[in-house]
Symmetry: C2
Subunit: 327 residues, 2 copies
């Protein structure tokens, strides 16, 4: 049964048979992991089943509106669940503290859209062509004939929006829009969701972003941009490192910039670098020079040096890479 | 014939009959005005007609990809045009330098989605329920049976995306998504469009944004946020005032903030204020206190005082408004 995908009908059938279902989003939940889980959990409860989302870390505040009594850290919330289903993750390392609980399910299911995932559960539906796992959840609910109410629709919408960058990223498809259009029939309030997701920025995030952009440097004839953050800067405004998310994209969005690097001081001699390329740049190659990796357009590396030294080496590598690309 | 809407078929019929069509987007073109115009212009040319977009100000750089030889300032580019059609604008004050040229059309048409627009042309199609004029253009082309090629599809997509804030604003509808889904059949490269629109920020815009956010002040118990820009700050980084667009939304997006105010020093004793409210706030009322106006969630005013004095009065008015709302 393992190592290949089952059909949506087979997955739906297993869920329909179950009286109790435990759902497993990945750690560091994002809008798709929690949105997909909340949508399925609500639909299963609507159908009279016992269902919970088992988590091991906190629900991020900007997604807390999705958790209407679904999330629990109590691994015994359901004794002997009929189905354990992992959502938006295709390997047990994405739910490390819940692996044992997962395999207690009489049937295990994996639903995911990451192309790197390998079928490992009893039933698997891994579709790399889906922009979001939430789209697959929509199709499973349709296959099961379960109605999509407003709350379920808004949770699915959250997953699609956040994983497609509001339909901008290349993964968005015609189907993403068709599914979203169908969600309007469930009465979703899409602009309320946008407020929940995007209009709840901590002021500390604004302050650290501003401080970081004060360090912005454009070099390599305008083709590269870099900025940095130090532990001291974070302390000054009371921000967390995770609140610097998005900075590297801002750097990449500068006109003419092909390669953007965001340099994060984790510790005195521990520098993490996030890089993005726009169209012709290749940051995977640059990251590899420092023992890092990633994709052509998004990569990263760790440099065990002081900030100034790391920055100097990085800038040189970026300039060299852009020179080569030109040649 | 005036003062009421015609049908899409009637509008399409008039365009189909015409041999030459001159298109009029509004001044300070945005993605919807130029996207809609470019889409219609290309479709009319594909159909063998003579068509130009007549403009009076510059095409913004981030939209220049839409102008593939369509835009001209030459008011004589078409002698005696069969149709003059104004697009995304419902009053002549929105194309002041081209009003005379507009009424030279043997037939005049107005296509718009602004609810404040009044039918004033021979033929009018004003639909306030459309999220973007680009959606109406899509429907006119469909009514005319004109094929939508990749370029036309991408121009329509640009209009829909920019006017709906990537499907986030409350004006986005099920139809916005259904039309967008249909555009995929024309082969649109949606992520290329996103790069064109959003990944071409002048570095000066980043620098001035950072400088402005350094002035960020949160007050009224966390319910209000304000920031300012001076002419001196603009000079220091070489930015233009229009590049401060978006700042007031960033302020509004702060968690807990109900009222955001962005204070712009236009001149020594001339302050312009842009305000936004999130959910319960009402900035129209605050703007009215200073002789300004707008909507409940987006309003503005002009204060003929120095920056410090204007700011102090504004803060007091905002605090008072939030106190009242609470009471």
């Amino acid at each position: 049964m393992k190592k290949e995908n089952q059909s949506l009908e087979q997955i739906g059938g297993k869920l329909a048979e179950a009286s109790s279902v435990l759902l497993f989003p990945h750690v560091q939940m994002d809008g798709d992991a929690l949105g997909s889980s909340a949508a399925l959990c609500k639909a299963l409860r609507n159908a009279g089943k016992k269902a919970f989302i088992l988590i091991e870390d906190e629900v991020p505040e900007f997604l807390s509106f999705l958790d209407n009594g679904y999330c629990t850290k109590d691994q015994d919330c359901i004794e002997d669940p009929d189905v354990c289903i992992c959502i938006d993750c295709g390997e047990t390392s994405r739910f490390p503290g819940r692996e044992q609980a997962f395999f207690k399910g009489k049937t295990t299911i994996c639903v995911d859209h990451h192309t790197t995932s390998e079928p490992f559960a009893d039933y698997n539906y891994i579709d790399g062509s889906s922009a979001a796992t939430a789209e697959i959840i929509y199709k499973i609910l349709s296959a099961m004939g379960l109605p999509i109410d407003k709350e379920i629709g808004e949770a699915i919408f959250t997953g699609i929006c956040t994983d497609t960058g509001n339909f901008q990223y290349s993964n968005a498809t015609k189907e993403s829009h068709l599914i979203t259009a169908a969600l309007y029939d469930a009465g979703i309030d899409h602009s309320r969701i946008a407020v929940e997701i995007y209009q709840n920025t901590r002021v500390e995030k604004i302050r650290i972003t501003s401080k970081i952009l004060d360090t912005l440097e454009v070099f390599a004839g305008g083709k590269a941009a870099a900025a940095y953050v130090t532990q001291d800067m974070l302390r000054q405004v009371g921000a967390k490192m995770e609140e610097t998310e998005g900075v590297v994209e801002t750097l990449r969005n500068i006109k003419g910039v092909e390669v953007a690097a965001f340099v994060k001081e984790q510790d005195e001699n521990l520098i993490k670098v996030s890089m993005r390329a726009k169209t012709s740049g290749n940051v995977a190659d640059i990251a590899a020079l420092f023992g890092g990796g990633g994709h052509v357009k998004a990569a990263g590396c760790t440099i065990r040096k002081g900030l100034a030294e790391a920055q100097a080496e990085l800038k040189e590598a970026i300039e060299e890479s852009l020179r080569k690309a030109k040649a």
